[in-house]
């Protein structure tokens, strides 16, 4: 069976587990533990290893969806999961103190995925916090990574349609990038 692996990344509380639950066709395997730092991020639980979901494309093909634990202290899990993935959906909350900086940090941490495959950025809670704007995110990416155009959308991680659209945009982007990049690589 042909398999594709997509990673959901981003800081704690951005909605990764929620997003995977919205698109997965199987019951999501999650690894939630009681949150010791409720005074910092007000959620009862937090992911400590990974989330796992699937979409069965047809009988012969499957997309595996992995969600990382957002906190940096689990970066050994990031290393494990990064190796397997072809692309990633990076979620950030627009009402965080510095979501643009967080986005850039995760793009850096997952640079290989960004280089190798594709990234789509999803901005959640923009209805609560309308700034920074999408243009700000896009400008920050252009500044840090010249020449790369990364789709940035406002999303609601709970919304099935939003998350499916994001997944489709990611795959379309990965495939088109491969289409145009292959010949360049051969030419070197």
């Amino acid at each position: 069976m042909a398999e594709h692996v997509i990673l959901f990344t981003g800081p704690m509380g951005a909605g990764k587990t929620t997003a995977i639950r919205a698109v997965s066709e199987i019951a999501v395997v999650s690894t939630e533990a009681s949150n010791s730092e409720r005074h910092l991020v007000d959620k009862p639980t937090t992911t400590v290893a990974l989330d796992y979901g699937e979409i069965l494309v047809d009988g012969e093909e499957k997309i595996r969806l992995y969600g990382i634990p957002g906190q940096r202290r689990f970066d050994f899990m990031w290393a494990i999961l990064k190796r397997r993935a072809q692309g990633m959906i990076l979620l950030v909350n627009n009402d965080a103190p510095d979501p643009v900086a967080e986005m850039l940090a995760y793009l850096d941490d997952f640079r290989e995925l960004y280089d190798r495959g594709g990234v789509v950025v999803g901005i959640s809670r923009s209805d609560i916090a309308p700034e920074p704007t999408l243009a700000t995110y896009a400008d920050a990416i252009a500044l840090a990574h010249a020449g790369k155009v990364v789709p940035v959308f406002t999303v609601d991680p709970r919304n099935n349609d939003d998350m499916r659209m994001v997944l489709l945009a990611l795959i379309a982007n990965i495939e088109m990038r491969a289409l145009f990049a292959t010949v360049e690589r051969d030419a070197i």
């Binding site: 594709h4 979409i55 069965l56 494309v57 047809d58 093909e61 997309i63 309308p130 999408l134 243009a135 896009a138 252009a142 155009v149 990364v150 789709p151 940035v152 959308f153 406002t154 999303v155 609601d156 939003d162 499916r164 659209m165 997944l167 489709l168 945009a169 795959i171 379309a172 982007n173 495939e175 088109m176 990038r177 491969a178 289409l179 145009f180 990049a181 292959t182 010949v183 360049e184």
Partner: protein, 226 residues
């Protein structure tokens, strides 16, 4: 000197007579469709000075745009966007940042309107502000969660995000009609998220083993029912 058009509710029965005497430009009515509006909006965006715009229609309430805030106000929802609306009048008026509001903010985000005007003007022909022999590449993606779009458009955006292509090349790579490709280019140009180049060479595309027919995108799209 704050000069403002009356709100739609107050002058619904009147035509252009009741508009402030300091309105600068006034276009005569033309045929159905959005071409004239598209050209006017593009010109205003080109100027980058604070402007207001009012469009009047045969069968709809007036549409107001306040370019200072990239917002518009219209009683017709974009989900019911009338592709063949008959424009009865169009006025633009310079303003300044201190002048009063044309309508209560935040209004609706202008991008949503630009997307639809861009897609629905010129019937698949090149917008007049674009030149022949140009290639295009996205500077950033439109916010697809907020714009009704097709999967063919998403496919085209993926092309435009990764290479400089002409309308014809875009159509070929994405497997769509020229007119669909051109309409999207028109819309993206109005949204000001398209880079234009006459120097960029034709992008080289890999051998056809990665064809649209076999792509994961098309299979996933079928699976997700789009």
């Amino acid at each position: 000197m704050a000069t403002e058009w009356n709100q739609a509710g107050e002058d619904s029965a009147a035509g252009t007579d009741e508009i402030s005497a300091t309105a600068i430009t006034s276009e005569p009515p033309t045929t159905a469709g959005w071409e004239q509006a598209a050209v006017a909006v593009n010109s205003v965006l080109q100027l980058s000075i604070p402007m207001l715009m009012k469009m009047e229609f045969d069968a709809h309430d007036p549409l107001f745009i306040d370019f200072r805030y990239r917002a518009f106000a219209w009683s017709t929802p974009l989900s019911a966007f009338p592709e063949d609306a008959v424009l009865a009048g169009l006025q633009t008026q310079p303003t300044d940042l201190e002048a009063g509001l044309l309508f209560d903010l935040p209004g609706q985000p202008l991008d949503g309107l630009l997307w639809l005007i861009g897609l629905n003007s010129f019937h698949g022909a090149r917008a007049p502000w674009l030149a022949p022999n140009e290639r295009y590449k996205l500077s950033r993606w439109p916010n697809l969660t907020q714009h009704r779009h097709t999967m063919r458009q998403m496919q085209m955006l993926a092309v435009l995000g990764n290479a400089y292509v002409s309308a014809g090349e875009l159509a070929d790579t994405a497997g769509v009609d020229n007119s669909e490709a051109q309409s999207l280019i028109n819309a993206l140009s109005l949204l000001r998220i398209l880079k234009r180049s006459v120097q960029a060479p034709a992008a080289v595309v890999a051998a056809p083993q990665v064809t649209k027919r076999e792509s994961l995108f098309s299979r996933l799209r079928a699976r997700l029912g789009r």
